[in-house]
């Protein structure tokens, strides 16, 4: 590789630069501002996140370019996922100030950690190289490990944080080892170059590639919490403060899916490659199909038995991971990207409401605690009902469109996927029951004693409004999001751009 070819285009990583600098500044604000930046922290974070969003939009005209010697890929996949990540972070940050006040937690480093996590997620979306994928993943993971244990005095939060850290590191090791083996087998860490090696049939150690691919699959499987690598999810989601759970379940998952798509659908997406390349493709498709089927079925069936809202949402997120994998198997970007967007909006909204209703220390997160609150706090209960219906896939919510688009694409893409679609539909039917349960409890049961109306700050209200409007908007007019992803040229055409 020649240095003249490095293409050090700093503009192309402007979004990452903004969030990273903002994170550093937030730590300074924490140290020097009065009251630890309880007021200025969230405002500064929001402003920088909006600036990040603007930077991403400004990159639009340069779509389909690479920089930093192929480390950064700036295509519609990156732009779209980066936008989704930023929106997730904005919503989470808006909710954070109420959370920190309610829990009487120090505010400063939370916003800084949020920004660093966002930086990592953005890096994952733009990574064109296995090394970048790993860097992004670790940057965001380390920040979220700390956030999971943010309620220091709470044993459950400590357990959650430690569990998340141990299993997260474990899976990262898998991923890294897989990357190393892949590098050994192909002689490169650049995803596009790996693809070319596979297509040309020039793999140096075929067996090593297969092992490497499998290990990376395990690593990614951990991060997106799909069965059978989901075991950490319920405990971590339940123990972490609800807002952090909201963040864990959305932003990082969205970003990991971006990398996952890049590495597997693009790098290893060589169905007609000679010998080992084609074999690898068939293998990961098969493995993912099984993972999708297990994930959906397991997540939904266990969720049926849950009586705790956070655990229920944790298992439901495993099931949603399964649905997304069906979209993944089409190796198109649009179904995955759109599903992730709809899922993120609804999850953030649902967790936000759980957070507000939970009171200090997550005391009230059993579904039975919600009995009869329907008309007491209509703004929260109707919104939660909307998100539940959305997750169950009932129109006119975004959840319906997401599911519908995944099923439709999978049905059309290959006859082998049809059985998965049928399993998914059966799963949707099962899931209707437990998603409707909170609605029934909220509206149709007599009111539980000792219910105190939660307060709702203006910022949290804005966050809630964004999720509600988004859920309805993408349920009725998904075209705006779909169009971005459908512009993404198939991987095969990318080679020409690379050169």
């Amino acid at each position: 590789m020649q240095f003249s070819n490095l293409n050090l285009d700093y503009f192309s990583i402007l979004p990452e630069i903004i969030t990273a600098v903002a994170g550093v500044l937030l730590m300074l604000i924490d140290a020097f501002a009065k009251k630890g930046g309880r007021k200025i922290g969230p405002i500064f974070s929001i402003v920088s996140l909006v600036a990040t969003g603007v930077a991403i939009v400004a990159l639009w005209p340069r779509a389909n370019s690479t920089s930093f010697a192929g480390m950064i890929v700036n295509d519609h996949l990156r732009l779209y996922f980066a936008l989704v990540v930023v929106v997730c972070s904005i919503i989470a940050t808006l909710m954070a100030s109420q959370f920190l006040d309610d829990e009487a937690l120090p505010p400063g480093e939370f916003y800084a950690l949020m920004m660093f996590a966002t930086t990592g997620m953005l890096m994952m979306a733009s990574a064109g190289d296995l090394v970048m994928v790993f860097l992004g993943l670790e940057t965001s993971s380390i920040a979220t490990y700390v956030m999971a244990g943010y309620r220091r005095t709470d044993l459950r939060a400590n357990e959650s944080s430690l569990k998340y850290f141990l299993l997260g590191s474990f899976s990262a090791a898998f991923l890294l080892y897989g990357m190393a083996l892949t590098y050994g087998a192909t002689g490169t860490t650049n995803i596009e170059a790996i693809r070319q090696v596979l297509m040309a049939g020039k793999v140096i150690y075929p067996q090593m590639l297969l092992v490497g691919g499998a290990m990376m699959l395990v690593g990614f499987g951990f991060k997106i919490a799909t069965a059978p690598f989901h075991l950490w999810t319920p405990d971590v989601y339940e123990g972490a403060p609800t807002l952090v759970t909201a963040i864990l379940a959305t932003g990082p998952k969205v970003a990991v899916f971006a990398s996952f798509l890049r590495v597997f659908a693009e790098g290893f997406g060589a169905p007609n490659a000679p010998d080992v390349g084609g074999q690898l493709h068939d293998n990961w498709i098969q493995a993912l199909a099984i993972m999708a089927a297990i994930g959906m079925t397991f997540g939904n069936i266990v969720a049926l038995a849950q009586r705790n809202m956070k655990r229920m949402l944790a298992y439901s997120s495993i099931a949603h991971g399964g649905y997304t994998l069906i979209g993944f198997l089409t190796t198109e970007y649009a179904p995955v990207g759109f599903y992730m967007l709809t899922y993120a909006l609804m999850s953030l909204g649902a967790f936000a409401i759980v957070q507000m209703l939970a009171r200090q220390g997550d005391a009230k997160t059993e579904i039975s605690d919600y009995a009869g609150i329907g008309f007491e706090v209509p703004n929260l209960s109707f919104a939660l009902a909307l998100f539940m219906l959305g997750m169950a896939g009932i129109p006119p919510t975004a959840g319906f469109m997401g599911k519908f688009y995944v099923f439709k694409s999978a049905w059309a893409s290959s006859p082998n996927l049809r059985w998965l679609v049928i399993i998914a539909i059966v799963n949707s039917i099962i899931s209707v029951y437990y998603y409707l349960y909170p609605i029934v409890v909220m509206f149709f049961r007599p009111q539980a004693e000792g219910f105190i109306k939660p307060r709702l700050t203006a910022m949290a209200q804005v966050a809630l409004d964004i999720t509600i409007i988004g859920t309805l908007y993408f349920g009725l007019f998904p075209n705006s999001a779909l169009r971005i992803l459908q512009q993404k040229a198939p991987a095969a055409q990318q080679i020409a751009i690379q050169k």
């Binding site: 409707l436 007019f477 998904p478 169009r483």
Partner: protein
């Protein structure tokens, strides 16, 4: 105007629902609480009546000489999916739309005294109306599905929050939700399947019907037979649950009984027709061959339900439950008529759909009024109402006669058309089914006459019944239009039949042509 008429009709209830939350309006904030409720009631009624008057424009401007959908608006909706915002009305849906807009003001009038969460109540009612009208006017499969599901959730709220008894209504709501949502998910699979195999990359029902018909004319089958049967069944499952057809009716008695009167009216009056309408719109034109082949089985289910509903209705002690089962029985005739595939039977089925909306709706109103006064639905608690409430009893009697099919009332025309049509049908065993169907009429007269005898006639046996007041002005306002329509449609059915004639025969010709090949 014609272009936007359906859109306005569709979104006016949405506006009505939104207006319920306009509490920041200055003149409302100064009104005391009890009066505010009154204001919202009037606003709701105003919107509902406006909607009805607007829908009359459809009747006036409708051109009954064509089978093409009218008042069509057809613009892209989701380009990435090939879904379009395609609305239109033809002879099949015309009367169902008007029936919906007709029943909503009546539902508001008879539940005027709902006192808890008035605004949420009217919001649910209007949102349900949007869904129901949407189902009847949507000509795009995805749009149809969207409205179909949209009608379910508000209805569940109506039952669960404003239903009869707290212990039972939650159970009824859950049952209703699970049955209907599961049914419609099957329908979704079929929609995706038809979309895929038609290969037209569109969800537009008219386009897909045409593509499939052209392929059939060219001797090709686009949807492989192994899949077609499953798609047919998946559609039918969604629709059968909604009608409901025996044996998928398990949700019906409890739900109808627990729902508030407005909910029962809408569910029995129009939501049940969504199912029958779906059969005519999807199953018949998309799978003509299969529909013909499966017709005897469907008819067998229909007559089973028809007899079963009537028999169970006879032994009911609960007045509302009796009406619920009679509704199950009546809808058996509708499905019987549709699948006999003769011009008369299908016309009769469509006519019966509207009749049933009026007569069962009115029966639920009558039952609702009397339960409101006595807080009980037990038939044995009543007796001798004719002397206490003469106005009420007259209306009740006319409606009951219309429901059992007395000549000169609307029910007669529908049933006789269906039975004659079925008898002359070429579907195997049709004659047997027609005879059994005729037996159902006898059973209907048993349960209806017996019920009337026990409720209306005889001596007043209970003390509580001696002080019942007759219809109030508001209640009269609700019942008189329904009674009038029952008589008008019974005397001059041609007004109705001429509008539906061509569209019905068009669908019929698709099925029959295919099977004679």
């Amino acid at each position: 105007m014609d272009l936007y008429l359906l859109t306005i009709l569709l979104f006016l209830p949405l506006l009505a629902a939104a207006s319920m939350w306009g509490h920041s309006l200055a003149w409302l904030s100064r009104v005391p609480l009890e009066r505010i409720r009154e204001h919202y009631r009037w606003i709701a009624l105003g919107f509902a009546v406006a909607e009805f008057l607007l829908s009359l424009l459809l009747l006036i401007k409708f051109d009954s000489t064509t089978t093409e959908p009218q008042f069509v608006i057809n613009i892209p909706w989701i380009e990435g999916l090939g879904a379009r915002y395609h609305l239109g009305v033809d002879g099949i849906s015309l009367w169902l739309v008007v029936l919906t807009t007709f029943l909503v003001p009546i539902a508001i009038l008879v539940t005027w005294r709902v006192n808890n969460n008035v605004r949420a109540y009217f919001t649910s009612l209007f949102l349900a109306q949007v869904g129901i009208i949407g189902v009847f006017v949507a000509l795009d499969m995805l749009l149809f599905y969207l409205f179909w599901e949209m009608s379910i959730i508000p209805m569940a709220f109506l039952i669960g929050v404003w239903g009869a008894e707290r212990e039972h209504r939650v159970h009824a709501t859950v049952k209703f939700l699970i049955f209907t949502v599961v049914g419609s998910l099957f329908m979704l699979v079929a929609i995706i399947g038809v979309y895929y195999y038609s290969g037209a990359n569109t969800f537009d029902l008219i386009d897909i019907t045409r593509v499939l018909a052209e392929a059939r004319a060219a001797g090709k089958t686009l949807i492989p037979e192994s899949w077609a049967i499953w798609f047919w069944l998946a559609f039918a499952l969604g629709f059968f649950v909604k009608i409901p057809m025996w044996p998928l009716h398990a949700w019906l008695p409890e739900t109808y009984v627990q729902a508030p009167t407005s909910g029962s009216i809408l569910m029995a009056g129009v939501m049940a027709k969504m199912g029958a309408y779906g059969l005519i719109r999807f199953n018949l034109p998309l799978f003509p061959e299969l529909s013909m082949k499966l017709a005897p089985y469907v008819m067998a289910l229909a007559v089973t339900g028809l007899i079963y509903g009537a028999l169970v209705a006879i032994v009911q002690n609960d007045l509302k439950r009796l009406v619920a089962y009679s509704s199950l029985s009546h809808l058996g005739y509708v499905v019987l008529g549709i699948f006999a595939f003769t011009s008369q039977s299908m016309q009769g089925a469509l006519f019966q759909m509207v009749n049933h909306g009026i007569s069962t709706g009115a029966l639920f109103v009558c039952v609702g009024l009397i339960t409101q006064r006595r807080q009980t639905r037990e038939i044995s608690e009543f007796g001798g109402m004719a002397t206490q409430m003469p106005g009420y009893s007259t209306a009740f009697m006319i409606i009951a006669f219309s429901s059992l099919g007395l000549p000169l009332l609307n029910g007669f025309i529908g049933e006789i058309l269906i039975l004659i049509g079925t008898f002359s049908s070429t579907v195997p065993y049709a004659k047997v089914f027609a005879v059994i169907g005729a037996a159902g009429v006898v059973l209907a007269s048993i349960y209806i006459l017996w019920k009337m005898q026990r409720v209306l006639f005889g001596a007043v046996t209970k003390e509580e019944n001696k002080e019942l007041e007759d219809l109030t002005r508001r209640e009269r306002l609700a019942l008189i239009p329904m009674v009038t329509l029952a008589i008008v449609l019974g005397v001059t059915p041609m007004v109705f039949l001429s509008a539906t004639d061509r569209s019905v025969n068009y669908v019929r010709s698709i099925v029959v042509q295919q099977s004679t090949k």
